[in-house]
């Protein structure tokens, strides 16, 4: 298992190198002259030259790349012009908000889509199967920002069940002490039920918005994988041996169908991390996505680049985790290694 883990880690390295090269190139491709940009609109030619030297922009490209790597290793993503704080610090303080939202969204999607796909596969082309298919196709066609707004309109404006879509906590509440950075989890850990419920009520709608978007590919692939597994010989044998349908479906069927589902999870995460940006904007969620959007609007580029790099590194890491989980779940992968 350890050799497998090391091999997977090595396989992820080229992606990581590619990510760093691309983000470096994006840094260099700033509209206009980066030195003139960072020097500000009122800068003289001399001031611009000074900034150019200070930023190392007069060096050959490969030296600049070396400096860039050096900065990244030290965790220096530059400084945000709009907040005046180091970008690394800003991203680190906002990451828990995004992670809490994305993870709950993914959890909701898995909890709904996987059982739905399984049941749909037991009666292919039945009414439940058709319903799942239509819902799934509609779900993937819904722009996340539009779904979010619809949910806000229905559950906040019309029904009044949800709080105003303005961040992680109502302004009358104070954030729980920082343990994990997840408000709901932290509130539970200190036993503050009221803050927990308040944080959860803020979290439900944005997480649901993300979940609806991720439902479709998960339900579809679960259904397909289950159909294939349920048609196989060992399921027929299990049926002939008189095992209960539930046992066949879950123990023999699902455990084999879980592998393709895991494979598609990588793609789903790509969608989710992207959609996260839009959902954070709709719900004024103080995560890294809305931070990047605010910076974009203010033409403040360092945060955007830091954000793109962070997201890509997270995504490479998550894919690595999926690969490792694959090795844990499928004995064949372990034997091959």
């Amino acid at each position: 298992m350890l050799t497998l883990a090391i091999r997977r880690l090595m396989a992820a390295l080229p992606s990581l190198v590619g990510v760093v090269i691309v983000t470096f190139l994006l840094t260099r491709a700033l509209p206009g002259d980066p030195a003139a940009y960072f020097a500000g609109p009122a800068a003289t030619v001399q001031a611009i030259e000074e900034v150019r030297q200070r930023l190392g922009l007069d060096q050959p490209l490969w030296v600049q790349f070396g400096n860039y790597i050096g900065d990244l290793v030290r965790g220096d993503f530059g400084t945000s012009l709009s907040t005046g704080q180091p970008v690394g610090f800003e991203l680190a303080t906002r990451l828990p908000a995004s992670a809490e939202l994305t993870l709950l969204g993914l959890l909701l999607a898995v909890v709904i889509a996987v059982p739905a796909g399984m049941v749909a596969a037991t009666r292919p082309n039945g009414w439940f199967d058709q319903a799942v298919r239509v819902t799934a196709t509609a779900g993937v066609s819904l722009p996340t920002f539009f779904t979010g707004l619809l949910l806000v309109y229905v559950f906040y404006y019309i029904l009044g069940w949800a709080p105003a879509p303005l961040g992680r906590l109502d302004i009358f509440y104070t954030a729980p002490p920082h343990i994990t950075g997840f408000y709901t989890l932290d509130a539970l850990l200190i036993g503050d039920a009221e803050t927990f419920l308040q944080a959860l009520s803020q979290l439900v709608l944005p997480a649901l918005t993300l979940g609806i978007f991720a439902l479709a590919p998960l339900a579809r692939i679960t259904r397909g994988a289950m159909l294939e597994v349920l048609g196989s010989d060992y399921i027929r044998t299990a049926r002939a041996a008189g095992l209960t349908p539930t046992r066949i479906l879950i123990v023999y069927g699902f455990r084999n169908a879980i592998l393709p589902v895991l494979t598609v999870l990588g793609m789903v995460l790509s969608f989710l991390l992207g959609a996260n940006v839009l959902v954070e904007k709709v719900f004024a969620w103080p995560g890294i996505g809305s931070f990047a959007v605010e910076a974009l609007v203010a033409s403040d580029y360092a945060p955007v680049q830091g954000f793109v790099l962070t997201m890509a590194v997270l995504y490479v890491g998550l894919n690595l985790a999926i690969d490792l989980a694959y090795g844990l779940l499928d004995p064949r992968v372990r034997i091959e290694s």
Binding site: P31, L142, P143, F145, F146, L149, L273, V277, L278
Partner: protein
């Protein structure tokens, strides 16, 4: 040839007959394209003309979709946006269709270092969450419609390159390619006249599926303030502007452009699914 085309038509009839959804999707796609082409003539009002007296009017007989915060007619803006959004999507898909397919065919046919470079390029793009990469590209290259088209094409590149590569490497050793070579076709002529036409049906399915994604991507970028700028009518911007009013109950500002966006994406997704069924040999019985 006529026998072959009549079999194809019969097959198309069979598959569409079994799947009326595809037929509906095809009709809707036709309608969308028609609206996009005729936009300036069918819009009841000028999409940019403001009318402060009649601002934020709910849908009525004179303004079917209501008016926005500046008194502009929402229906006219949705129609004008159809044209712009479809144009962006079509341009980016056309770009990636040509570049991605050519790169994939070159990788699959030539193998060696061409294959390695194209493969590495595709892997690197896939290492990013795609929407985030598109954001980064537009932020770095500058905030313009052209760069939205480019960014959307770039994030779709791996899909096209991979499919074209896989299909080419399967076909390049097949008998009919050998036969063409023996008949004196040059390598270039084999690729252009034998391989590419064979790939087209498979690539067309991707075109339809990625059109939906391209629309979603472009609208998403505009929603966060990239690319198309106000006062231009675009679905993403219109939803973003309407978002401010939805929490005070003026739902029509965001609902209609959002619905149009959803219908367009759903149409191209369903059409792509339908085309895939049409081409799937397993369903050709």
């Amino acid at each position: 040839m006529s026998a072959a085309s009549s079999t194809f038509l019969a097959h198309a009839r069979h598959t569409l007959g079994g799947n009326p959804v595809t037929l509906v999707a095809a009709c809707l796609a036709g309608l969308l394209i028609l609206v996009a082409l005729l936009a300036p003539w069918i819009a009841p009002y000028d999409p940019l003309a403001t009318d402060p007296i009649n601002k934020l009017q709910p849908p009525s007989a004179s303004h079917w979709f209501g008016t926005d915060q500046l008194g502009r007619d929402v229906l006219s803006r949705v129609i004008a946006a159809t044209r712009l959004d479809l144009a962006i999507a079509v341009a980016s898909v056309a770009l990636v269709f040509v570049c991605g397919t050519l790169a994939g065919v070159a990788a699959g046919y030539l193998g060696g270092w061409t294959d390695r470079i194209v493969g590495r390029l595709a892997d690197t793009i896939m290492a990013f969450p795609l929407f985030v990469l598109a954001m980064g590209i537009v932020a770095a290259l500058g905030n313009s419609v052209g760069n939205i088209v480019l960014a959307t094409a770039v994030v779709n590149f791996p899909l096209y390159a991979r499919i074209a590569r896989a299909e080419t490497s399967v076909r390049r050793t097949q008998g009919w390619v050998e036969a063409a070579r023996l008949c004196g076709h040059s390598e270039l002529s084999i690729v252009l006249t034998q391989l590419l036409p064979n790939l087209l049906p498979i690539m067309m399915v991707q075109v339809s599926l990625t059109l939906g994604y391209a629309i979603l991507n472009a609208a998403g970028l505009s929603f966060i303030g990239l690319g198309v700028r106000p006062p231009t009518a675009e679905w993403g911007i219109m939803v973003a502007e309407g978002a401010t009013y939805i929490i005070s109950g003026e739902w029509w500002l965001a609902l209609f452009p959002g619905l149009a966006l959803m219908v367009a994406v759903l149409t191209f997704n369903l059409l792509g699914d339908g085309l895939r069924d049409l081409l799937d040999p397993r369903r050709r019985t």
